[in-house]
Symmetry: C2
Subunit: 432 residues, 2 copies
């Protein structure tokens, strides 16, 4: 059986999982790859740092040129996070003739066009299934398994931290702060979880999927996004009462040949497969014109699930499938974008609106009057019974029929300045 | 852009979908394949049969040698069902140098070893993602995307007809006969649905997946199987009361390095992703030692979902990925089987037992006494209140803690001959 020399750059959480599979499950990988993968080097910053994996010390180096100078190493797993030195390392690896596997979504969302062009010019490949959805092979499924389809929409739960926090708020009735603190204790959330909870992480992943599925060239910062940091337990409870759950969804959908993109908490029907996605799990619903609806659901982060995706990409690379896929897809090439982003004001949806109002006569009439003038029709209303004491602040929840984002924004703008309205109206979309 | 000539043999439901994609979505396929796919011939038995697709008459032929004699045709989609002439057609195609894509699970379950060996000797490939799970790319996911894993278990809802029938019995309270008649009216079930409802179809698909995931060499007829034809609405209702749903599951799981295989209706927790699989949808839960639990869910049959899988395989074939995968996996090769089937008597599970008994004093004590002697411990019991009139027949439902199939069979054998017991005990496993 042939042997292929591979290397690993970065030995953090995921890198440790990858090293474990390469060293301890070598026979299994050989069976699945039809060749042995021999780990030649693990490049780290500090060889002496204590680690929770036992590695022969001779494998560790802090010198990337041990890898770049060895022409027998043809495939490298690059797991250094962030933008720099990750970008420079990628370029050095590609220029020294290596095919690269990475899980660094931030790097691809930021520098994808440059890196992919560079790889193409050099005849190399970049594989990145682990960059989106952790253990869920969503990149391969979109770019290979669903190749017969025009993909019409993607709805993804792509951030495990947010899903965990929402699950805790929903199931255990925890506050946002307590749920986030628990996510940090369990190691799901970073010490600084800003990029997770404000929707940036999901937007980076969505930008990558939107490019794969629609050929869209959009920078993640241009995707309208809202995180879970404003989410209140009350909204989760009202959603439940209406037969829904709230999930942070990353959405890309074709509407009249334009692409609507956004990240936001959204209501999903309680009996839909996305509603059943719990804790740190991720899921993606893809609608293709041939296949119909198809769902992928699994662990979106963590050492071994992400290592599973990285090593599958490495196997694809050493057997030669990755090179074919990379060449065929022409990702982030100079080809013009196939679809253009859509102005979200024209996007249609049903909406959940929560108004916090002083409970005095006529408030409901004022609010529904404004909605009516914007041609927003109402599907259902919840206002729970209150005491007789007047001037109490109550929540009034309205589910609308289908309307446009533009109409909702205008109506809510007018409603928010009413005297009876005590807080900005909470607006969430509803996934049908 | 290069062009690859392809051909299609068989123009039934799925073949019509494949022809539609090849002819009407040629630009899309060219974009995803990096080359144009040119449909050269459609081989049919009767050129004059009316069809629900408009095809240039010049494409139709009833002569397979138009395909086998044309060396420019390198990839052929073979959609003739059944065993013969499908097997002979496959062999003629392979021997004339064609790579083949097929959706014929019965053919692979029966003649897989012979056909795969033959293809290997000839340096050709066979792709068959459409043979299992329709539009769900489960074959590619197991054999490629999860290649870093030792798969530990597979639980599949693999027969859309059965899932539809169960959904109707469960949701609408329809009888088995009425639900099956509706499935036939809607075109989900065959005129003779025997192979669907008795679990044979699911067993054929399970045999294929078990070979892919575990290297098991098992003939589908050796897989213990039970269909839905004995399922009663009462069991669906009791399951619901206990917080479960009933699904026809095809199961392959490693237990102490042996492989347990069976097809049977089984209880799944109401809030698990498998419980949410409705109507004609299919789903597969895979547990891998690295990835953890991952679910795939989509339409398991139908013209366009199945055509989606066939055409993805065809794209993989013409770009060269299929050849690599086929060579690497060595499916049904002469290599010894990696795991051996397990004697189901040693398989552990929780069980649902329904006893139909005459309601007289001491019956519960007799039954629980027998269970206790076989060391089967009871998790919960349901017996609904009955009238005062003695000697009524009532259902007594017992959920057990984990025990073995062998212990259950012995205990139930003793219970079934009790005087108070009026019908064979219903035994269903419970998926944890």
């Amino acid at each position: 059986m042939d042997t292929t020399k591979v290397a690993l750059v970065g030995l953090g959480t995921v890198g440790t999982g990858v090293a474990h599979l390469l060293l301890d499950e070598a026979d299994r990988l050989a069976r699945h790859a039809g060749r042995r993968l021999s780990l030649a080097w693990v490049v780290v910053q500090d060889r002496d740092k204590p680690r929770d994996i036992h590695l022969p010390r001779s494998l560790l180096t802090d010198d990337l040129s041990q890898v770049t100078d060895d022409p027998e190493i043809t495939a490298v797993v690059q797991l250094v996070g962030g933008l720099e030195p990750a970008r420079t390392i990628m370029i050095r690896l590609l220029e020294s003739g290596k095919d690269v596997v990475t899980a660094n979504k931030a790097l691809l969302a930021e520098h994808g066009p440059e890196l992919f062009d560079h790889a193409r010019q050099l005849g190399r490949s970049i594989s990145f299934d682990a960059a989106v959805g952790g253990g869920i092979p969503i990149v391969t499924n979109i770019s290979q398994c669903l190749s017969a389809n025009q993909i019409e929409s993607l709805h993804g739960i792509l951030n495990g931290t947010c899903n965990f926090v929402i699950s805790r708020m929903d199931g255990a009735g925890a506050s946002y702060r307590d749920a986030l603190a628990e996510a940090q204790r369990r190691g799901y959330a970073e010490a600084d979880p800003t990029m997770d909870v404000d929707g940036s992480d999901a937007a980076q992943k969505l930008a990558i999927l939107a490019h794969l599925a629609f050929g869209a060239r959009v920078h993640w910062q241009d995707i309208p996004r809202e995180g879970i940091d404003q989410l209140q337990t009350a909204d989760l409870q009202f959603a439940r009462e209406l037969g829904y759950r709230i999930k942070l969804l990353a959405v890309a959908q074709l509407v009249a040949e334009e692409l609507e993109l956004h990240v936001a908490p959204q209501l999903v029907r309680h009996d839909s497969p996305l509603a059943e996605v719990r804790d740190a799990y991720n899921a993606v619903r893809v609608v293709g014109d041939a296949v119909g609806r198809v769902w992928f659901h699994g662990l979106g982060a963590g050492r071994m699930p992400t290592a599973s995706a990285v090593v599958a990409d490495l196997v694809d690379t050493v057997v030669g499938r990755a090179a074919i896929t990379f060449r065929t897809l022409e990702l982030w090439s100079q080809r013009p974008a196939r679809v253009m982003p859509r102005d979200n004001a024209h996007v249609s949806s049903r909406y959940y609106l929560r108004f916090d109002v002083v409970d005095h006569p006529g408030v409901l009439a004022e609010i529904t009057g404004i909605l009516g003038r914007h041609k927003i029709s109402i599907a259902s209303v919840i206002q729970h019974e209150t005491g007789e004491s007047a001037e109490e602040i109550v929540s009034l929840v309205v589910m609308t029929h289908t309307t446009t984002d533009g109409a909702i924004r205008q109506a809510v703008g007018e409603i928010n300045v009413l005297e009876a309205v005590q807080a900005p109206t909470r607006v969430l979309r509803v996934l049908d």
